[in-house]
């Protein structure tokens, strides 16, 4: 479907905010101001923005170690997230969690945890609660491609299918689990079929296309029972920290060049400019001001 320009601008704004926040955090790590481990989602912003745009406020999201983008896209407070990363009591987890433990129940951000796949069954439990109480909400589990190697994800998909639970499994396939390319971990590039055996319908979408992600999640949300989406994307930075290739070695360099061209934010900016939007610089400046204010908070 065709989305109006304001809608596209909102998606762009979310993605731009995530990008600039992550870049700011990268700078703070390099400057020694942030010292807790941070897993940046630069390059993957369209998934968080597309998924959360298709959700209602009371729907919940459950994330992992790389969840700054999920938190911001679902409406989490930028100030509280930065404070959390800095270990302050004003952080969203009162400074007890750090970058990998983000929470804001008032926004439906029910929690992120870095044990790979750990929150996937928790999201299924949220779906169970909604079904038992006959509430119209859905629970979204965000996880990476590495999580498909954990047994609990398969157990979770079976339970969600068996009990017809409103759960959307979002696999952010950035091709790498830490430093390991998918081909070092699997024989076939077929993650979108992971739910098939458990009767969870699956689909592969371009994770760098915010509109495609949004449409797929909206369709999943309208369906009874669980769905599985493999969103193809690429992580620009290393597994953890600000560097582009430190922990992955030089093998990623060529691949990264290909993916930089598919920048999800550039993609939507191009569409906006084609539609005659002229005030992107002003909007960018507004986001930069908000970010600077949050950093000074």
């Amino acid at each position: 479907m065709i989305h109006d320009t304001e809608w596209l601008l909102d998606r762009w704004e979310t993605m731009f905010l995530i990008r600039r926040t992550e870049e700011t955090i990268a700078g703070m790590i390099e400057a020694g101001e942030v010292t807790c481990p941070c897993h940046l989602c630069i390059g993957q912003e369209a998934i968080a923005a597309g998924v959360c745009a298709a959700l209602e406020p009371e729907d919940t999201i459950w994330g992992g170690h790389r969840s700054h983008g999920h938190y911001l896209a679902k409406g989490g407070s930028l100030e509280a997230m930065l404070a959390e990363i800095l270990g302050k009591i004003t952080g969203c987890s009162r400074g007890r969690g750090g970058s990998m433990h983000l929470l804001d129940p008032t926004r439906g951000i029910l929690g992120t945890a870095p044990i790979v796949a750990a929150t996937v069954p928790l999201a299924v439990g949220a779906g169970m609660a909604y079904r038992m109480r006959r509430e119209p909400h859905v629970a979204v589990a965000f996880f990476g491609d590495g999580a498909l190697e954990e047994g609990s994800v398969h157990e979770s998909m079976n339970l969600a299918a068996l009990y017809r639970l409103p759960v959307i499994f979002i696999c952010e396939n950035n091709l790498y689990s830490s430093h390991m390319h998918w081909s070092e971990r699997r024989v076939a590039d077929n993650l979108y079929r992971a739910g098939e055996f458990h009767s969870v319908p699956g689909e592969r979408v371009d994770g760098n296309d915010v509109v495609a992600v949004f449409e797929a999640v909206r369709a999943a949300r309208g369906r009874e029972g669980p769905s599985f989406l493999e969103c193809r994307t690429f992580r620009w930075r290393g597994h953890v920290g600000p560097s582009f290739d430190l922990d992955v070695g030089v093998q990623r360099k060529g691949e990264l060049q290909e993916w930089l061209v598919k920048d999800p934010i550039r993609l939507i900016e191009t569409q906006l400019i084609e539609r005659g939007v002229k005030n992107l610089p002003e909007r960018q400046a507004g986001i930069e001001r908000a970010l600077a204010a949050a950093c000074a908070h």
Partner: protein, 331 residues
């Protein structure tokens, strides 16, 4: 007062909790099986429906994680593991998630994990384990181990109403024990031990099945002129240091009896605390009665040597008294 056995007491607690609170549901294995976990879940599916009494696939990790997620979403789940050995597949949702969430995020996880110690009968090394000490180790978890029908009911109700995750461990060897149990809903406070017998010579601290063995041991010791005090710990975490230490200071001799292994077991923690806190009042080293540090055997003859009971408790008490032989044996 009418009497119930231990399994019936557990069943009644479930029924009353399910009737009182629509947020309560049970998920786990064996909930629709004709054996109903030794009768402890008898007909709950018929009385409350299979939407709330959910017999699950053999997915210990995901069902436990599901229960954590449901607890975080306003429900009061009881996740059931009919054998503790299998619950080890759910270590992540229990240890990393349920136990940590309250500290990390300041929100409670009102979850009960019910695990059964189901041993003996030649079931062997992976159907017999009592690994409660592993969970006692974890900050953020509460662990209760009732030894009587009264406590089996009252502790389950307290556990479900608690804002934090509680591991409720019952022992199949206790299921047939009968005792008066009130009909109404009542709570046994988590973290409070029960004094089962007052005595002046030696304190027997028993956990779960070994608490009932300690009561038997106290009777035998009385015939020998040894006046034993019996403390049924009931809660392993937090455990009632006040009651145990008061008794230790009074008698000066302590035997800790546990159905788990020795090394880094629950008995080690209690012995260390008593030794440190009541050092000057102790008249003998703290004795421990535990399983040997070995996997559970399968053969009947080896099982007889593997599981300690009241006789080993009596022997430990006599050692503490400096009277290694009973009068009978000495005669």
């Amino acid at each position: 007062m009418r009497t119930l056995n231990y399994a019936q007491a557990i069943r009644e607690a479930h029924a009353q909790l399910l009737a009182a609170d629509p947020r309560v549901f049970v998920i786990g294995q064996g909930l629709w099986s004709p054996w109903y976990a030794g009768g402890s879940l008898e007909d709950l599916d018929k009385d409350f429906g299979r939407a709330r009494i959910v017999d699950s696939p053999v997915s210990e990790n995901a069902t436990t994680g599901l229960a954590v997620g449901a607890a975080l979403s306003g429900m009061r789940p009881i996740v059931f593991h009919p054998r503790m050995d299998f619950m080890l597949l759910a270590m992540d949702p229990i240890v990393n998630q349920a136990a940590n969430w309250s500290y990390l995020f300041g929100i409670g996880v009102p979850l009960v994990i019910r695990a059964v110690i189901n041993r003996g009968g030649q079931q062997g090394a992976q159907h017999s384990q009592a690994v409660h000490a592993m969970f006692m180790h974890v900050p953020g978890l509460k662990v209760v181990m009732p030894a009587t029908p009264y406590d089996a009911k009252g502790l389950l109700i307290a556990a479900v109403e608690d804002p934090d995750p509680v591991l409720y461990i019952d022992d199949r060897w206790l299921y047939a024990a009968s005792a008066p149990v009130p009909k109404e809903m009542y709570r046994v406070p988590i973290g409070k031990a029960a004094l089962r017998r007052a005595g002046s010579d030696v304190t027997l601290v028993g956990i779960s099945w070994m608490a009932s063995e300690a009561v038997t041991a106290a009777g035998r010791l009385a015939a020998d002129g040894i006046d034993a005090e019996v403390v049924d710990l009931r809660s392993l975490k937090p455990w009632d240091q006040e009651t145990v230490l008061a008794s230790a200071r009074k008698t000066g001799r302590v035997v800790v009896a546990d159905s788990g292994w020795r090394t880094a077991g629950a008995s080690a923690e209690i012995a260390a605390t008593v030794s440190a806190e009541a050092f000057h009042e102790l008249r003998a080293p703290v004795e421990r009665v535990t399983l040997p540090d070995a996997p559970a055997p399968a053969s009947q003859s080896e099982e007889q040597g593997y599981y300690p009971g009241f006789e080993e408790i009596c022997a430990a008490a006599r050692r503490a008294m400096g009277r290694p032989q009973s009068r009978e044996a000495a005669a």
